[in-house]
């Protein structure tokens, strides 16, 4: 358990901090080439920086891929 009370941060405080920065966010989208839904996400690194990446959602396409 943390002994540093000044460093304690609740999930709510962390959520408020993260909500303040929306510049990187993107609505989920469908890639017409494969029909899958994609989402933009990021992970907080130990040094406080962020790495952004995309995830493909699901086991099958959301829509019929283009040309098929």
């Amino acid at each position: 358990m943390s002994e540093s009370k000044s460093q304690e941060m609740t999930v709510k405080q962390l959520a408020e901090q993260q909500k303040a920065d929306t510049s990187w966010k993107k609505e989920p989208w469908i890639n017409p080439k494969d029909g899958f839904e994609y989402r933009r996400q990021r992970v907080q690194n130990p040094d406080g920086t962020y790495t952004h990446f995309d995830v493909r959602v699901g086991k099958s396409p959301r829509v019929k891929p283009e040309g098929k």
Binding site: E8, R39, Q44
Partner: protein, 151 residues
């Protein structure tokens, strides 16, 4: 999740949480000092008993998922306090149980909006463990699903 090897069955290498609680565009934070992760899923079933049938059959209905995470307490671990507060306050979080680092291309996992519904504390000292039980939230903003990291 498409399995690429038998070793992935019931096995997750990294688990993350999102304080915002919406997994459409989350900011994942690695859960600290994880000892063990169990991702389980079971089906509720309707039993079909018919006098002339030799066996009672079942029809699967709802899927019940649960993620159990065992953390080791270490001094200075601020994420532990955040997770404890989320449990006490019934705060919805996002959770990602991944086969590896979440930003690595090709890693797979299950992501859901969820609540911490169990907090089994082994003791207050450094080195003691705490077991968290996490269950998907009803009426999520973004539906839970399996994902594959694509970039």
């Amino acid at each position: 999740m498409a399995l690429s090897g038998a070793g992935e069955v019931g096995y997750t290498e990294e688990i993350y949480y999102d304080a915002d609680g919406d997994i459409a565009s989350p900011t994942w934070v690695l859960m600290p000092s994880v000892q063990d992760v169990q991702v389980t899923a079971s089906k509720n079933v309707a039993e079909i008993a018919v006098r002339n049938d030799k066996e009672v059959g079942v029809v699967p209905t709802h899927t019940v998922r649960e993620i159990t995470v065992v953390l080791t307490k270490r001094n200075g671990e601020t994420n532990y306090d955040a997770l404890k507060a989320a449990f006490e306050d019934n705060t919805k979080i996002g959770v990602a149980a991944m086969t590896g680092p979440v930003a690595t291309n090709g890693e797979k996992g299950f992501q859901a909006e969820a609540y911490i519904v169990g907090w089994d504390d082994d003791g207050a000292h450094e080195g003691n463990s705490v077991s968290l039980t996490i269950r998907p939230a009803a009426n999520p903003t973004t539906a839970a699903d399996y994902v594959t990291i694509s970039s």
